[in-house]
């Protein structure tokens, strides 16, 4: 763009044309800001002509998930509760994208309040997988993944609380990066589970994902959990020493689809060919991750979503419906919440409320927090063993290789009735959030299902703030994004 080979305006016009043509089929984007994007592109083209410095993302159109606050349009969280909510501020990540010259062109579909793994539970209706329109794109950042996979935008932001960037990236055949907890400011991200939530990019290459992460990372005084670590190491550099890849037995066991098992083998072979030492490791508590995750995430959600009370913003129950009259404040709260929030969201709020309630707090919430520490220690031990195998802590680098999901994208509607089937989609991703580690999904191969070729990605996990090693490994093994049929 800065070389002048293509103007920002022409890039935006091309994106808008693709969105108009293909978005109705996949329903990935919920709001499109055509006028604003074109006017912003004209400003950037003008700046380039005048020789004014523009940022590293100058003229790059980006879609932003519906739970990230933008002053453009609405920030709905794909919920009736926030259907008309216009944020009076931009999230820190959006401010940083603007400052880097990026163009916010659209909002992306998601599961309501990021609670889901399929992007089926949305105010806007389901998003479809561009590789097979009868299948889900994964979730909850399914709109972001599908938009990038179908070429509507080159990059999109998602959020990842238990796999919501990495699992849809795998199902749609794109790169999805969840940074270390604290790398990226959460200010302006509508909170689901504050100790797990992290914003990250979905892109077509590891390099693009790294670049966007570098732009949005860094300390923000408005998020006290954001790290002071410098973002400059969020770049792809060649390995400067031996490295090893830890393969957990838990990630090669039963329950994987043939395509996922083959993609793991292929990824291991590519790592070996790239010079890595491969070691087998155990994550003994991995089997408890889903249980711990759903107690911790829902406990935090029950507190975070208490703010939706029909008073300060969002849906407010009115007495002129067919429901009971609203006689007091408590009834206004209860009716506003029950009308505004979807069933899955209410279910998770109740689960979290139960886990935190008197008499159950120790048995559920505290127990889950202890298991969380054991899960983190499993990863620490595995990575330490990997560094030792690669030549010792001083020079060795290590990553963990895992499937991103037990299978390829599943059929729309096939997991909506069983409450546990959907949760188990996240079996390989939630541990990373509990431990706060960085992880990236990269495309490896596809799995045949009828006439469709369904993408399969794998996950590379590194130690906290060690995105550098994660990116190096990811860049060595990623396949190009498979092309989605039109």
């Amino acid at each position: 763009m800065q070389s002048g080979s293509q103007s920002a305006s022409s890039v935006v016009r091309e994106c808008l044309a693709r969105i108009e043509r293909d978005n109705p089929k996949i329903n990935a984007l919920t709001q499109v800001f055509a006028r604003e994007a074109l006017s912003r592109a004209a400003e950037i083209d003008d700046a380039i002509v005048r020789g004014v410095p523009v940022g590293p993302l100058a003229g790059v159109p980006i879609a932003v998930k519906e739970n990230i606050c933008t002053t453009l349009g609405q920030t709905t969280c794909a919920s009736r509760m926030l259907a008309n909510y216009a944020s009076p501020f931009d999230a820190t990540v959006v401010e940083r994208l603007h400052a880097a010259g990026a163009i916010i062109i659209a909002k992306a579909n998601m599961d309501e309040f990021a609670m889901g793994s399929s992007t089926e539970h949305s105010l806007f209706g389901p998003t479809r997988n561009p590789h097979d329109l009868l299948r889900v794109p994964g979730g909850s950042s399914g709109g972001s993944a599908a938009a990038v996979a179908s070429g509507l935008v080159p990059v999109a932001l998602g959020s990842d609380t238990g796999g919501s960037i990495r699992q849809p990236a795998s199902h749609c055949g794109v790169v999805g990066l969840k940074p270390t907890y604290g790398r990226v400011s959460r200010w302006g991200l509508v909170a689901y589970a504050s100790s797990l939530d992290q914003i990250g990019p979905l892109a077509r290459t590891v390099e693009d994902a790294a670049l966007v992460t570098r732009v949005i990372a860094g300390h923000d005084p408005r998020d006290s959990t954001s790290s002071h670590a410098l973002a400059s190491d969020l770049a792809i550099t060649p390995f400067d020493g031996p490295w090893s890849v830890c393969v957990p037995r838990e990630g090669r066991g039963e329950g994987l689809s043939p395509g996922v098992a083959a993609a793991m083998d292929e990824a291991i072979a590519r790592c070996r060919a790239a010079g890595a030492t491969i070691i087998d490791v155990d994550l003994p508590h991995a089997g408890h991750a889903i249980a711990a995750y759903y107690l911790i995430a829902t406990a935090e959600a029950s507190s975070n979503l208490a703010r939706f009370d029909g008073i300060r913003y969002g849906h407010r129950a009115s007495a002129n419906g067919d429901g009971p009259p609203i006689t007091d404040l408590d009834m206004l709260y209860r009716l506003s919440r029950s009308q505004g929030l979807g069933r899955e969201v209410q279910k998770r709020i109740m689960l979290g409320t139960y886990a935190l309630s008197s008499g159950y707090y120790d048995a559920y919430y505290q127990t889950a927090l202890k298991v969380r520490r054991l899960i983190k220690q499993d990863y620490d031990r595995a990575l330490a063993a990997g560094r030792t195998a690669a030549g010792g802590a001083a020079s060795g680098h290590a990553v963990v290789l895992m499937p991103a999901s037990p299978g390829p994208a599943f059929a729309i509607g096939s997991k909506t009735s069983d409450p546990l089937a959907m949760y188990l989609e996240d079996v390989f991703t939630v541990g990373v959030n509990l431990a706060g580690l960085p992880a990236i999904t990269v495309p490896i191969d596809t799995e045949r299902a009828g006439t469709a070729a369904l993408p399969i990605g794998v996950q590379i996990i590194a130690g906290a703030l060690d995105e550098r090693t994660m990116l190096r490994a990811a860049d060595r093994i990623a396949s190009p994004c498979p092309t989605a049929a039109r």
Binding site: A86, H315, T367, A464
Partner: protein, 119 residues
Amino acid sequence: MSRDHTSPPAASPAAAAPALSEQDVRHIARLARLAPSDDEVARYRTDLAAILSYVDRLRAVDLAGVEPMATPLEMTGPMERDEPRDGLARQALLGMAPAIDDVYIKVPKVLGGEGAGGA
């Protein structure tokens, strides 16, 4: 909103797999300020019972001497300088509220009584 941490549901937390009753679900819904219909209560009971039975596996983990981990950061609360900063404008904040009257947010009667009141 405040949450009432008192009066737990009747089921015993020591039991292996808690049998969740519809009354328990109504109690949780009240704590969470939700108003499910009777049909919904029945469905939530089924779903929540299945999930609780699944998470019961955590009871088998040996947790002796393990400290709870509430956040990956494990830092102590960072102190901020106590300097005034601009907040959002009053009009921007009022503009988000579903029911306002001049510079006030309207709510129904807070204490007892009948009928939806004004500000």
